[in-house]
């Protein structure tokens, strides 16, 4: 049995319609009309223990809603969720004892108190044996460099420091599963890197299953072998990141700088398999379908007409691929 089983899960919110205008507020109060928002619509997937999965999608795709259902704080409208043999919302307390959660934009630390106070409270919340707690705290302090601000009130921490502290807080009780909702949001490159390294280590050394939602696809590229992509509440891709690139990233671009002496018909010429040509001065961009031709063949053909001075082949960025999928709203690219 998989660690996490999500089967045909849907979540529909009823949102009260608001009326505009002078008496809008009163009308909204008296004549409630609702419209239904399908935040998550029949999503299914399974996760094995020890996996590290990226859960991605544009804003409002239903990522956080899914995470909230998996953590047991939101009840699905239909479908079935099992995590470690439990239905999360039915056995909420037993369930949350075994998981760690970080909502990137909302800290779980006590804002006005020194960071260590929150860590100490967590020891009581999860009834962590003191030795184990101490050991974990030392390890995390070491990797995440928490030492310098353990006794600083949380409100005085930088965003990067706060996020590191939040991560440590979510892991002190040795959870089996770690849910991360936008763990690197708003962080600079160095801070992001530190968090990614930490997550990698936790996943590898402790076998903690990690599910993270993010807008930063570099997180995914660095951390996850598998991605689940949702949009408008529906699952549109579930599989290896590499496969996503192969299937949807068919377009490559050859960038060529040529020597002087352009032939007159340079503007019209388009080799077979090339979708578009762009030119700026002596630089050309040939975008081609990887299935229609190869970079080698294309370069050969170009070399016969022009004298090439310099050339590069651009791989599609995962970012571009995902954007294309979001924009087209489907996988049938």
């Amino acid at each position: 049995m998989a660690l996490i089983e999500v089967e045909n899960v849907a979540k529909t919110f009823r949102v009260a319609k608001r009326y505009e205008g002078r008496f809008g507020a009163i009308r909204s109060l008296l004549a409630r009309e609702y419209r239904e928002v399908h935040a998550v619509d029949k999503v299914s997937f399974q996760l094995e223990a020890g996996e590290m999965v990226g859960y991605i999608g544009p804003n409002g795709a239903g990522k956080s809603t899914t995470i909230k259902m998996l953590t047991g704080i939101l009840v699905p409208s239909s479908g079935r969720i099992m995590v470690a043999g439990r239905v999360p919302y039915q056995e909420r307390v037993a369930h949350v004892r075994k998981i760690g959660v970080v909502f990137g934009q909302r800290s779980q630390l006590w804002w006005d108190l020194p960071t260590i106070e929150s860590f100490e409270l967590l020891r009581h919340i999860y009834k962590i044996p003191f030795e184990r707690w101490r050991e974990n705290l030392d390890t995390f302090s070491d990797i995440l460099e928490l030492g310098p601000f353990l006794h600083t009130p949380v409100r005085q921490l930088s965003l990067g420091q706060r996020m590191r502290a939040d991560l440590a807080a979510a892991l002190l009780h040795d959870p089996n599963i770690l849910f991360l909702d936008e763990p690197t949001i708003g962080l600079d490159v160095v801070a992001k890197d530190r968090i990614r390294q930490f997550l990698q280590r936790i996943n590898k050394e402790r076998g903690t299953t990690v599910i993270l939602t993010t807008h930063d696809l570099e997180d995914i590229e660095r951390l996850c072998q598998r991605v689940i992509l949702i949009d408008h509440g529906t699952l549109i891709y579930d599989g290896a990141l590499e496969e996503l690139r192969n299937r949807f990233g068919r377009e490559r671009t050859v960038v060529i700088d040529i020597e002087n002496g352009l032939p007159d018909n340079a503007h019209d010429w388009r080799p077979i398999g090339v979708n578009s040509v762009r030119r700026e001065g002596r630089r050309f961009w040939f975008s081609f379908d990887r299935h229609a031709t190869t970079a080698a063949a294309l370069i050969g053909e170009i070399a016969q007409r022009y004298q090439i001075r310099d050339l590069t082949v651009e791989e599609p960025k995962i970012e571009t691929i995902v954007r294309q999928i979001y924009e087209s709203g489907s996988v049938t690219v």
């Binding site: 409002g60 704080i73 998981i99």
Partner: protein, 262 residues
């Protein structure tokens, strides 16, 4: 139990940080205390009793209620509503604890500090400038018990009202309305003894008098002997009722849970 003690301890410590808020609070309470005392002094004139209360009783009553305001006597917080609105509640829900227990201990820690610091200092001003009564130990001990009971009581009531935010986004206006009703019927604004008979009868049927009026009357010695025990029982009755309702509404809220933000 240890966990809830630790939560309360942190809430207590957290409250100690806001010193300027404390001073501002004490000054506000002292200002209103002074104002109402001047009014009573003018109204009582040369002396006499009104509805069984002497001027000295009335003055003590004013300073006590002002001192108890931050303990729950005249004001309800919207802390839980805020966490529902910001979605912060998601963190509190993902914990292996009783949500009610968490907030109760948090509020208890905060109010305990309010009682010890803000309440005591405010009352001290009343004692120094208006000769508000200094109670005997026999009066003070049952008063303290009554105040501690009223803290649980007013918290539970506030919890129920705050939880309404699970069903509507405009719960804050509800809190304001209920706050006004509470201030009036708890005897915070005016001793219930001054109420016209029908209103006083209504007040006695509501839980609010057990929050402010009962502890204050014990302090004043208007409730004595066996009546003190009865008043504790009444408070306990309301606590059992309101805590049960709190837990019920909590269960319903969990089921219906809608957290803001997708």
């Amino acid at each position: 139990m240890r966990l809830y003690f630790e939560i309360g301890l942190r809430a207590f410590r957290r409250a100690t940080i806001y010193r300027s808020a404390y001073i501002a609070g004490i000054l506000t309470n002292a200002f209103f205390g002074t104002l109402i005392c001047f009014m009573y002094q003018a109204l009582y004139g040369s002396g006499g009793n009104v509805a069984g209360m002497s001027l000295h009783d009335a003055i003590t009553y004013v300073w006590l209620t002002q001192s108890l305001i931050s303990v729950g006597g005249g004001w309800m917080s919207t802390d839980i509503i805020q966490t529902i609105r910001t979605g912060e509640i998601a963190n509190d829900m993902a914990r292996p604890w009783s949500f009610f227990g968490y907030w109760l201990s948090r509020s208890f820690g905060e109010r305990l500090l309010n009682l010890i610091l803000r309440g005591t200092l405010t009352y001290l001003i009343g004692v120094l400038y208006f000769r508000a009564a200094i109670p005997s130990l026999e009066q003070f001990t049952p008063f303290l018990i009554a105040v501690l009971l009223s803290m649980v009581l007013s918290f539970s009531f506030g919890f129920i009202i705050n939880m309404i935010a699970f069903w509507t986004i405009d719960a804050t206006s509800m809190v304001w309305l209920v706050n006004t009703i509470m201030m009036f019927f708890s005897g915070f604004l005016l001793p219930l003894a001054f109420f016209p008979a029908p209103l006083a009868a209504i007040a006695r049927l509501l839980p609010f008098q057990a929050i402010t009026s009962l502890p204050v009357l014990i302090f004043l010695g208007k409730i004595e002997d066996i009546a003190i025990l009865n008043s504790f029982l009444l408070q306990l009755f309301w606590i059992v009722l309101l805590v049960s309702v709190s837990l019920m509404i909590q269960r319903a809220a969990m089921r219906k849970l809608v957290i803001q933000g997708g």
